[in-house]
């Protein structure tokens, strides 16, 4: 059969060409976005990997991941060029008294590692997500299981929507005004936790609500018909099945909590701190100490020290580790979700 004779055969005319052109424009826009995202991502990964990984065993720059930030000293001594961190430089001067007055170039935070920042970020994320998940899931349970449509619920939903649009720096100011000053917690983990938790609350509520709604109605009706109370129904027949979805929601939340700098700038983050968070005299001090955090450290190293070959290592390395941690948490959450989802099927 001659296909050319087919009545519905697409013919190449001006309209069709225009269509093709416009569609290519849209396609171009899509791939341009992806290219920009990839450019940022790959730039950080390639340059950062140089700091974090090494070519010889153990392949990972352990010092960078496990030490605290130090100042970097660059100097020439007896015809050799040295790049030493603060402690190493002091040891060098002790060993070579002649080097005491050597001319050095120094850059803060450019030697050593970022271990305290990693610890701080993980603590901030874990604490604030615990608070946000607790408040958010409970609120979502109320909204889906108990609430009847009315003025009050509409008001609650409006508040959630508006809370989602509040800029993160405003949360920072609020946290500063309320927790740091009014409650007198000073710059502390606790203040950071609550500030971040309130910031992600709308994300967690919205997503939890969605996954609670997706649990079939029959589950609830069956349980209620057997004489279970409302709470028993929710506890045994709704929440377990909604959990995978709720954990998915926490992915989005974690990415935001870990990534935001503005809210912790005045509530929880220190530019530099010698002690690790568990070096405290008494247990209650743990909650009332500021920590170093990766996003804030990136801000500090990219704005407060000049850009050159010596500082670039720590800048890219920190950014790479930070991106890696955000991706890792997200991946863990996705894995957990698929495992839970495989268990429950309806």
């Amino acid at each position: 059969m001659n296909t050319a004779a087919h009545v519905f055969r697409p013919r190449l005319n001006a309209a069709r060409r225009a269509e093709g052109l416009v569609f290519w424009l849209f396609r171009g826009a899509t791939y341009l976005i992806l290219a920009c995202g990839a450019a940022v991502f790959l730039n950080i990964v390639f340059k950062g990997a140089g700091t974090v990984f090494k070519t010889e065993a153990p392949f990972v720059n352990v010092a960078f991941l496990t030490e605290a930030p130090e100042s970097l000293y660059i100097f020439e001594f007896e015809g050799k060029k040295y790049e030493l961190g603060d402690t190493a430089f002091r040891a060098f001067k002790e060993a070579n008294p002649a080097a005491a007055n050597v001319k050095t170039e120094s850059y803060v935070y450019s030697a050593g590692g970022i271990w305290p920042c990693i610890v701080g970020t993980v603590l901030l994320v874990v604490g604030s997500m615990t608070i946000a998940l607790f408040l958010g899931v409970c609120a979502a349970v109320y909204l889906t299981e108990y609430a009847r449509d009315g003025a009050f619920i509409r008001f609650v939903r409006l508040a959630i929507l508006n809370l989602a649009g509040v800029p993160s720096i405003v949360f920072g100011l609020f946290g500063f005004g309320m927790f740091v000053i009014f409650f007198g917690w000073n710059v502390s983990l606790l203040a950071g936790w609550f500030t971040l938790a309130f910031m992600v609350l709308p994300v967690v509520i919205t997503a939890s609500e969605e996954s609670l709604k997706s649990v079939p109605k029959g589950f609830r009706e069956g349980s209620l018909a057997l004489g279970a109370t409302k709470w028993q129904t929710i506890r045994s027949n709704v929440l377990p099945y909604a959990l995978p979805g709720i954990l998915t929601s926490s992915i989005l939340g974690i990415a935001r909590v870990a990534g935001e700098t503005a809210p912790i700038m005045f509530t929880a983050a220190y530019v530099v701190r010698d002690k690790l968070p568990w070096d405290v005299d008494k247990a209650s001090d743990f909650f009332f100490q500021g920590v170093m955090a990766l996003p804030y450290h990136i801000y500090v190293v990219s704005s407060k020290i000049p850009q050159n070959e010596y500082t670039e290592r720590v800048q890219y390395g920190t950014a790479f580790v930070f991106l890696g941690i955000v991706a890792l948490i997200a991946a863990a959450s996705i894995l957990l979700r698929t495992r839970l989802r495989n268990r429950y099927k309806w």
């Binding site: 108990y146 800029p167 009014f182 990534g259």
Partner: protein
Amino acid sequence: MNEPVPPAAAPGPDRAATFAIRKKRVKLLGLTVDDCIKVFFGGNAVVSIIVLALITYFLVREGAGFFGQNRQNLQVYRQAGLEYVDFIRTQSDEHTALTRYLSDLRLRALRQLTETQGLSLDAANTALAPFDDYSGKFSDAVEPVRGLVSELTEVATAIKTKFIVNEDKKEERRQLLAEGKTAEAAAVVITSVDFAAELKPLLGTLPAYQAANAEFTAKLTAVLAAPPTLPTPELTDRLQRFATLARDYLATFPAVERNLAAWDFRQPVPAAQSFTAFIFGRQWLTASFWQDWYGIIPLFVGSLLVSLVALSLAVPLGVGAAIYINQIASPREQKLIKPAIEFIAAIPSVVLGFFGIAVLGQALRLLSQQSWLSWVPGFPYSERLNILTAGCLLALIAVPTIFTLAEDALNNVPRAFKEASFALGASRLQTTLKIIVPASLSGIISAVLLGLGRVIGETMVVLLCAGNRIAIPDFTQGLAFVTEPVHTMTGIIAQEMGEVVRGSIHYRALFVVGLVLFVVSLLINFAAQKIVRRYRISIG
């Protein structure tokens, strides 16, 4: 479940025992356990309302004092005579601006002579001697007035310092009294400032000023009467323009004198002025030796411009990608691209800001210096961090938001619309652009608005990449303003909050900026919701 047990079951212990579901209810304050649980969950739902209220409360609590303090700030500005001096200072500053115009003109003329006409540098300088004479006379004419300004500045600053020292002492006494140390409090010596007496020498200079001004006017008029000749008509036109500007400038002198004569330090600053000075103030100047100004306009304009640049890039890309994914792409492409774009949303903003400092700023500047791009307004430029750099990165932040929401909106268009359009013989392009997009327009617009909200509230990218210069960009060159550095509302809070003294006027001003930001974001959100609800196409 919560209904009371029917009374029929109550009498007769034997009957009650046989009834299976009969339970004893534990009651707490008249609530059953289930009621308590419900109240508990409800309480959590209210948290978001409470948080919103608390944000408002604490921003207002910390920021409200600003207007009172700013009023006092302006009051001192007047009482100490700073305002008086500023009348003359403005006059002298405007003269400086005109001088700058002249030196710019000289640079052009020199370039014209050496490059186009091929004169040597010495010959060109000789040719410009009459012009140098002209501009020299023009710039020297201001000397008497400028001398007066620097004299008066010292007087006014002294009065202001005296006043501030007094205020500090009053505060000290107040604190001592609050601590109960009456004796120490009494020992604090406060000599109240007699502004009328202090201002006498300042106001006494009016005749001197009038004399200086007359001399100044005479000199300027004489200079302007004899303009030099310039090599090309274009430059002569510029000189003419300068002469017009200078004459306009001369025409303002009587007004300055009138202002000075009519000025009265006793005139109170109206309460509203501390508000208008903030909302319409064109200067944000802190920690200055002369006078601090807290005007939000440069910051607001900065935020707005950066956001507009970001949106003008992000809207076509985001909406285009949403249309592509929703209408054109194959299911496999959809499955790959959607999570990828959502992943872009997960890139932390501070990392993007760092990328801007480390790579993009430099790359864009290099691009701007390519000769084949010199037709672009503002190119080439030298400031690495500016509106454009920040705008490009913010676009990357806004794109996932706009994409996701716009895609949702497109998805919500009922299938029947598309099918009906195809059945009428419309092509895919026609269906997409004339049926699907208009039907979801409200959703797309609200997506754009929410993208704007996201961008205007973004802090780290603008703090790192917008250049942080507190100034309203120069709009006279058209689109070239995008290559100028600005400061933003979010950036100023993040930058200055760590350095201010708690409770000071500067500290409170930052909270008021936060309040403005909060209100703006609420308004944007509100508009987005209104549009969705109002213009949603009813289905069915």
